[in-house]
Symmetry: C2
Subunit: 342 residues, 2 copies
């Protein structure tokens, strides 16, 4: 139970009567090693069940083959799906991923960056916390030349590669769809305006209204925490104001469920009287009554794209290319909650 037979390249070197250097080169398929020797090494390695020590290798050439990921919280379908995408892509290339959560806490985010740096990750991908309005903690990352990728919750205040969906276009589409369905007094649920994705969605929403010749009414734009309770509160607020809205486009699925609940509570018919559209395509949107229209953010693809970007960055190492910004198309998913014209 405690047999610590550490098998190293020296063991296999001894086994076949060469030096560790040769074994190392053979294992790495170095051109200056004869095919015969390579074969012997490989066989001996297999025979004595040799496992390379990545830590030693990492120390030597400064590459840990580790990618650090920071998300606000992992137990949210959107983020865990992104992580899934990254993991898939990275694993296939012999990289492992390390997860950290910021809990939308600025301080925790700073600490985590530090921890990842300590762990000597080869790259960092992050989705910014909601309260992150200063970016000095990324300076160290950039300065060390460690590839950094922002996904979804990004910022333009830093010259960093990023992967986002087309928030503007999808918000535009969603709003347009509501207009097509005959809704004319469309409210919008949004979050703190410091975050770009919410700004973009608001922009798409108002642009769609404008293009349709509908005046933008700022009283119909309600800020909240974008959670279930936030959606409930925002809905009650709208009702109390008596502004007579007939649809809601929410920048979050959670908030739109809150709205759905509040409206059903007072017998408002969805979608006949009020149309609803959320954002993110969380799994539960399919299961509500009625099912909620929403925007699919293609989380897994976003993860894969982020990972791909990382590998591009390390491929042409040295040549610092201009900032790359990949925008993925999102998908408006139309379900019952916004379909009153059949």
């Amino acid at each position: 139970m405690k047999k610590k037979e550490k098998i190293t390249i020296h063991d296999i070197a001894m086994e076949i009567g060469v030096t560790a250097s040769t074994v190392s080169r053979a294992l790495n398929n170095h051109p200056r090693i004869s095919p015969a020797t390579k074969k012997m090494v490989l066989e001996a390695a297999k025979a004595i069940n040799y496992k390379p020590n990545r830590i030693a290798a990492a120390l030597r050439h400064g590459k840990s083959k580790l990618i650090g990921i920071i998300v606000p919280t992992i137990n949210r379908n959107f983020f865990s799906s992104i992580v899934r995408g990254i993991e898939e892509y990275a694993n296939a290339r012999d990289y492992k991923v390390m997860i950290s959560q910021s809990y939308d806490d600025y301080r925790k985010e700073v600490e985590t960056i530090d921890a990842l740096l300590d762990a000597r990750v080869d790259g960092i991908m992050v989705s910014l916390g909601k309260n992150t309005h200063s970016y000095a903690h990324f300076d160290a990352v950039l300065q060390k030349g460690i590839p950094l990728v922002f996904f979804d919750r990004t910022t333009d205040e830093l010259t960093v590669n990023q992967v986002v969906i087309d928030d503007f276009a999808s918000a535009y589409q969603a709003t347009h769809h509501l207009l097509d369905q005959g809704y004319r007094h469309i409210a919008h649920f949004t979050s703190h305006m410091k975050i770009k994705i919410y700004l973009e969605r608001l922009r798409g929403y108002s642009q769609a209204l404008r293009d349709y010749g509908i005046p933008f009414d700022e009283r119909l734009v309600v800020e909240s925490n974008m959670q279930l309770d936030g959606g409930q509160e925002s809905t009650r607020f709208l009702l109390e104001q008596g502004l007579g809205f007939d649809a809601i486009f929410s920048a979050s699925d959670y908030a739109i469920v809150g709205a759905l609940q509040e409206l059903k509570k007072i017998q408002v018919k969805i979608p006949q009287e009020v149309g609803l559209i959320g954002f993110s395509n969380e799994p539960f949107t399919e299961f509500t009554e009625p099912a909620l229209s929403t925007v699919d953010q293609k989380a897994i693809a976003m993860g894969q794209t982020s990972a791909a970007l990382f590998f591009e960055m390390i491929a042409d190492d040295g040549k610092p290319k201009a900032m790359v910004k990949k925008t993925l198309d999102a998908n408006l998913i139309i379900r019952s909650s916004s379909s009153r014209i059949s």
Copy 2:
């Protein structure tokens, strides 16, 4: 942009005129270093912005401070919440977690174990894939003395510490609740019978029936993949068989949503005509119409407990204790789908 000023203990040693040994000891708060020197070292370290290289340290003393986690898929609330629990607990103790997914694929699981071993993780926590019926790939882990913890999807065929919820008791409770509500023909949705948790839930289900004096009817137990479509199929199957069930206790939330959809499609009233209970407390169960009763598996707590178990194992290293099996209490959450007596 390419300033690679690698700062090591040697730099700080030179700075204050001592050797690296002293710096190392000072940094690790070794008792044989004078307080004065320690102070100098700490200050110098801060001054030149020294960051310890964990990789070098890991190589030296064989500890990577990394915990490997294997889950079938990360983008399932239950698993991502467990990961969250583990990450929280581990992070607070200066350990990082590495995520891998098995996709319920046996081969991938084997490869992943190997990859984690390569990465020299200090411990491994896994939730077995659905198709894993052989456990030889864990031998290497055990033999190397690397702490291994199974959570949720475990097996007794290996002497490994595990953390589970009381599947039997919670299934018993759920079934009992249905009986209390007056349902008498309770069907059960389950999965492949090789997995212990499903066996346990089935056992709890049948025991509850027995204790209530209701005969167990195996025709009411339906196997499926436990996904949405599986639940739909199982429901249609039951309906076609014309067995006259009046409730379903499903070992999965996804399958019970499938049942809900099928039943609503043919105007069956929930919970008046048929009562439903799922398992896992996935977020969407709260949002369906009616809201689904389910069993809360306390995922975050399970993650924390698993992590705690790991730290116990490395604490008294060497002394191999007997196998520890922690069983957490689960929580029956009663919502509308099973409440017809008010």
